[in-house]
């Protein structure tokens, strides 16, 4: 399950995704429109900024905007940023790999092999789900 933080991040990004290109949105506005505690949202936006998903402008008339287009931001990006590894165990994780203490031989561990397969499937789903889909933007007719 997504943490509340990740859920808020998605909603904030969705809000930015529907803006006109180049428009700046203030934290306070996102907070109100998306029903997110403002101070909490500030922390989330800073995380998103550090990850280069959004950028900001300070001072009067400042705010946030998407740094990458909405069809280039995947659920996997957001998930990993706030909730960490996608795999079910660290030994099966791509980005957050850690060895099992109690595992005799990782290379012959059937559990690990299965969990890697599960991870690959999950990853496929998460990496193919883009922010613009989450927003439900009308797709162009092919």
């Amino acid at each position: 399950m997504l943490s509340q933080k990740a859920k808020y991040a998605i909603k904030a990004l969705m809000n930015l995704a529907v803006q006109e290109k180049g428009a700046l949105v203030k934290t306070a506005v996102i907070a109100e429109q998306e029903n997110i505690p403002k101070k909490f949202l500030e922390l989330i936006l800073i995380d998103l900024k550090r990850a280069s998903l959004v950028a900001s402008k300070q001072g009067v008339g400042g705010g946030y905007y998407l740094l990458r287009s909405a069809d280039k931001i995947s659920l996997a990006d957001i998930y990993r940023l706030f909730d960490g590894a996608i795999a079910l165990l660290p030994c099966a994780s791509l980005r957050f790999y850690e060895p099992c203490k109690d595992c005799a031989d990782e290379n012959t561990c059937a559990l690990r092999a299965s969990l890697i397969a599960v991870r690959d499937q999950t990853l496929l789903a998460l990496e193919n789900t883009m922010l613009n889909q989450l927003v439900g933007q009308k797709k162009e007719v092919l």
Copy 2:
């Protein structure tokens, strides 16, 4: 990520899965072989029993055994039992469904629709991963 409890459960079930049919294994033996704190394992086994994945016999010579064959127990079964919903949000969950408070109309929510699609993919992976695969039992040559 799996909770420690779920991980222990998998290991315990794997241990039972490699026993001869009808054999009883004591909690203490599983605990030692799989490096699981015994008292903690007891709780886990009771959960597994309540879920009808294993059964037990009390008293001298008692112990646990699989109630369902290892190719009929999926990762999804175990995950749900200990870690709950597979979907990323409750509104997208099959077995642990809960409506979003802040959602205007669930049926037109693009986020929900996407998360249901992700869930279906994840579910496919988890439901097709069976205990006997986790154990790495030799497959019969077809």
